[in-house]
Symmetry: C2
Subunit: 225 residues, 2 copies
Amino acid sequence: MSTAATTTASKSERAYQLLHERIGNGQLVPGYRLVLSSIADELGCSVVPVREAIRRLEAEGLVTFERNVGATVASIDATLYLHTMQTLSIVEGAATGLAAHLITDEDLRRARELNNQLRECLENFEPVRFTRLNNEFHAILYGRCPNPHILDLVHRGWNRLNAMRASSFDLVPGRARESVAEHEGLLELLEAKASPHEIEMAARAHRTGTLNAYMAQKNQSPSLL
Amino acid sequence: MSTAATTTASKSERAYQLLHERIGNGQLVPGYRLVLSSIADELGCSVVPVREAIRRLEAEGLVTFERNVGATVASIDATLYLHTMQTLSIVEGAATGLAAHLITDEDLRRARELNNQLRECLENFEPVRFTRLNNEFHAILYGRCPNPHILDLVHRGWNRLNAMRASSFDLVPGRARESVAEHEGLLELLEAKASPHEIEMAARAHRTGTLNAYMAQKNQSPSLL
DNA sequence: CCATGATAGATCGTATACGATTTCGTACAT
DNA sequence: ATGTACGAAATCGTATACGATCTATCATGG
């Protein structure tokens, strides 16, 4: 009956999505205390669905939960950031490598167009748009990965990283420019039909910010971090 | 007061662990219907904690859940098995590579001892013990990985795979023997202080069952599957 | 002034109850 | 005999209520 999107979403699902979005866009900063009853009141539901939503967020690492104490938005730590980024570099690299031989010319064309738009963002200093387009760019590169589990891990990693960046870790200015250049290198590898392994390692290195070093000394095996 | 282990574990935690174990050891076969009220009765608690436990299991991929219908132990599919194994190969490989430079001589000694015991299991045909010792062996190799997120992913992968094997996919007879030989190769790489990248790829190839092919043509970049 | 213990408040954990949805069996019409 | 409609049973989804546990505040003694 409803032409709009699923209006039959369960309340726990709505609670989950609301909190997920608010954590993702920085409305809920790390350390913020999530009180079940307050959230339930705001959503106009009881605490049971809210509890379930929070446990799901906990499973994704977006909130921490302590028995009889409560939930707080996961706080950030340089080590945590590093670990998350490292994990993402591995799974996203693998996804990109697995997707490489399935990517279409149209995908590559769109990716190249996005990368040009990223350049514009750099010149006009549009960090928000940059982040969005950057996500789109990478989503194209790994999107054809035929293994849904790996794609799921990539999304989880992005979510965690996103939650972190929105709060305190923001783009390192110089890094963004470097990133766009690295994208170019990735596109060239893909267009040249390089081996999946080489593409995987390049995508991984891009995340770890050492693609250039990798390209310079690619005969030597690259360190993981 | 209680000298025994944590008696204060929440009921949802107990429900989770019970179901997790039963799925892991094959008591609950894929396709089995998990009815909240029945489990609640058996555990002597209400349905709310059971529901939470089941959603956790769902998040790990051990059960599937359908709104207003119920939960069933995740059924197995050759594709699902392949995807799970592939994911595990990637994250476990990465974990092993990251752990390589932290592994101790004592670790290697124990690993070698375990591998010898695995050989005994082969000769005496002890598949159950083989599986247990095999898990221990790999746990030693990747155990020193300093990134807890990656370790978590490895454990999730093992759990899913374990749930599958216990039910219908069992050890391929010939593969077990091959596996022990590949362990030997891994140990040699570790003892020789090979590069993390090389160890990562060897560990990954071991999972995908193609270490030998990899060793034979290791100049060429190995395909991911 | 500081340490310690008790009390009150806040919050979580779970039991119970009831409504919503699905599924399955049965009767009926074709 | 087969397909369909209807109704009952089963099961999930969530609201509400109450007990358990933690935290913070404050009084008391050193």
